[in-house]
């Protein structure tokens, strides 16, 4: 197991290298640059633009910008500036003065890291995933056990909504129902320290994953229920509870776990739309707006963070496989 984990971690290095190369090439191929601003305002004048390019090293050849980002470069005073390998994600071109790691990981004064943008997204993502699992898996299990009953149809109805209604539509509807009409929560949270304000964003963010989980669990359960070993288990006189929990559910979770891994990474890196609608201070917005702004370091930074998270999630999925099905071996 230890050897397996170590090998998978080492694999991260080439993955990061490939991902960053592709991202770097693509983003620099996109027309425009970080100093191209909203058109209704005055554009940055050529002298300033030249100064900025020199300062940020954007006037250097692309390969050198790339190595400078990954490894580092020697600055104008002959000092070595360490890059990604030292954990430096580079300067933001839009929030000038701040580095990407400061924007994403630095909490406000006197607060812990969970108050950083990454921390906020992490928390929301975990809540959303918990919602998806706590509701989705039991819903799937129940609708499989009660196939073709009202319960099954109700769950199908909710699942269909979860899959076919985009979250920007669901968000505005839930806001109108729970905030505007029932006044259960406020639309614009006074503070994210209250528990109640997390519910709507987490539910909306996790709804699609919940629906997928429920659907996949149901399908997988239906399949497992008809396996011979379930019949064997029943005929052994095991209680129904043991049969369902120990045999059916456990064996049905393999495909579910497969989608949950990457879903976690996606949920944790946040959703552009949810964050925009709720004014949520997470990192999901950072990564979408960065492309529009050509904030190169931010694009690279968010992509790499996502890449690492996905890789970690997939490793955990492989480990969970072993737990769920002893016949699968990690070698």
């Amino acid at each position: 197991m230890g050897k397996f984990l170590l090998r998978r971690m080492l694999w991260l290095i080439p993955v990061i290298l490939v991902v960053s190369t592709i991202t770097f090439v693509l983003m620099h191929a996109a027309p425009g640059g970080p100093w191209d601003r909203d058109l209704s305002a005055r554009q940055v004048d050529p002298a300033t633009q030249k100064m900025l390019n020199t300062y940020y090293g954007l006037d250097k050849p692309l390969w050198r910008q790339f190595t400078a980002y990954l490894i580092g470069d020697i600055d104008s005073e002959g000092k070595f500036d360490c890059g990604l390998i030292c954990g430096d994600l580079g300067p933001s071109y839009r929030q000038r003065g701040l580095t990407i790691q400061q924007i994403l990981f630095m909490p406000p004064e006197e607060k812990s890291i969970i108050y950083s943008r990454f921390g906020y997204s992490m928390r929301l993502g975990v809540y959303a995933l918990l919602f998806a699992i706590i509701i989705g898996i039991p819903a799937g299990v129940i609708s499989a056990l009660k196939q073709n009953t009202m319960v099954d149809y109700l769950s199908l109805f909710i699942v269909t909504i979860g899959i076919s209604v985009p979250n920007f539509v669901m968000a505005i509807f839930l806001i109108i129902i729970f905030a505007s009409t029932l006044h259960m929560v406020s639309i614009v949270p006074r503070s994210w320290d209250e528990v109640s304000v997390w519910i709507l964003p987490a539910v909306i963010l996790g709804f699609n994953t919940m629906a997928r989980t429920a659907r996949l669990t149901r399908g997988s359960m239906l399949e497992t229920m008809r396996q011979d070993y379930i019949r064997t288990a029943r005929s052994k006189g095991l209680s129904e509870r043991v049969v369902i929990v120990r045999h059916m559910i456990k064996n049905s979770l393999i495909p579910v776990v497969t989608i949950l891994g990457p879903a976690l990474a996606a949920l944790v890196t946040g959703s552009f739309i949810i964050e925009t609608m709720f004014g949520f201070p997470g990192m999901g917005r950072a990564y979408v707006t960065a492309i529009g702004q050509r904030d190169y370091s931010m694009i690279m930074g968010t992509t790499l963070i996502y890449a690492v998270l996905v890789a970690l999630a997939n490793v955990s999925v492989d480990v969970v496989y072993v737990f769920l099905d002893p016949r699968i071996r990690l070698d």
Partner: protein, 335 residues
């Protein structure tokens, strides 16, 4: 609970080995049986009918649509649907526009009908590519294991590692002004981008299934009898791992339709057409976006596209359930 496939084979007086082969490999009757079981399932027949209707509507939108979807009607923006007398913006409905009008006074019903073309294509085409690639990669990876598995899985790691949306956006931003980006009103680029990142999920799920199936007794049996690897993979493992694939497919199709909408939200959607004779004019995603911003003025703007997407999802869910049951002989006759 006994399966129909195994029943006939037991009664025949054939050689023992051939008999065993018959149990699992009887292609024609397997698919024929599946089909006959599928059309006995009411829900999946309903699903198929819905899909056929939508395909028909999409193909013949130009004949069916009551209005030209690009016809701008001055002063008739945001009219409510016919069953509402006066909308929240104070405008009265017009019987000519069943679902009301959009911001420029264009007929929502007609636009939804035309939208079926883009959205059904966006839903189907990339999903099809994704399933083919994902299933093949997942099967090989899971079955062969070892080095092959490692290489393929690390490849999927790289693809997985890109945040989907980020990848779409970068690709669209970078390539939109090129020839590829303009092909088919930009749909070609959209398909390619969606397909490029989408197959990974399928590959992993099929691999997961394969990993657990290949240790099962009936695979052992097939192997003992000298079945070739490709035969085992495509005849034995594939049909048995289709369950999750079908479910995922039913969810991927609306996912694609919605992704197109979100890209529209970010200014990277379909290139709008100005000629009513064009095939691709607007999409459901675009209509939903417009509906979201106009939620206060014309809340029903969301209705037509939302119903359309939900119906497609339901249709695929029903069909998917039926297909899975039909393809899995063990499920036959239960409950």
């Amino acid at each position: 609970m006994t399966t129909q496939v195994s029943q006939p084979s037991t009664g025949k007086t054939q050689a023992h080995i051939a008999d065993l082969t018959m149990m699992t490999v009887k292609p024609r009757s397997l698919w024929m049986d599946a089909w006959s079981r599928l059309i006995k399932n009411k829900a999946s027949v309903v699903g198929m009918i819905i899909i056929v209707i939508f395909t028909f509507l999409a193909l013949f939108a130009s004949v069916i649509a009551p209005h030209n979807p690009l016809q701008i009607n001055d002063g008739k923006g945001f009219l409510p649907p016919t069953w509402i007398e006066v909308g929240p913006n104070g405008k009265a409905s017009d019987p000519a526009y069943f679902f009301g009008t959009d911001t420029l006074g264009r007929d929502v019903l007609s636009r939804t009908l035309y939208g079926a073309r883009v959205s059904m294509t966006v839903g189907f085409l990339p999903t099809f590519i994704i399933i083919v690639i994902g299933t093949i990669v997942g099967l090989f990876s899971g079955y062969r294991g070892g080095r092959m598995d490692n290489i393929l899985m690390r490849l999927t790691d790289v693809f997985y590692a890109f945040p989907d949306l980020l990848f779409f956006i970068i690709v669209m931003v970078t390539l939109r002004q090129t020839y590829i980006g303009q092909l088919l009103n930009g749909l070609f680029l959209l398909f390619s981008a969606l397909a490029l990142v989408g197959w990974v999920g399928f590959a992993r799920i099929v691999r997961g299934q394969t990993l657990s199936l290949k240790e099962k007794e009936f695979i052992e049996a097939a192997r003992c009898m000298g079945a070739t690897d490709s035969r085992i993979m495509f005849r034995h493992i594939l049909p048995n791992s289709l369950g999750p694939v079908i479910i995922l497919t039913a969810m991927t199709i609306p996912g694609m339709i919605i992704t197109e909408a979100i890209l529209g939200y970010l200014g990277l959607g379909l290139i709008p057409s100005t000629n009513p004779k064009d095939f691709f004019i607007t999409s459901w995603g675009a209509s939903m976006l417009e509906g979201q911003t106009a939620i206060n003025a014309q809340p029903w703007l969301l209705l037509a596209p939302a119903i359309a997407v939900s119906l497609v999802v339901l249709a695929f869910t029903f069909l998917g359930d039926g297909l899975r049951d039909a393809l899995d002989p063990r499920l036959q006759g239960t409950q």
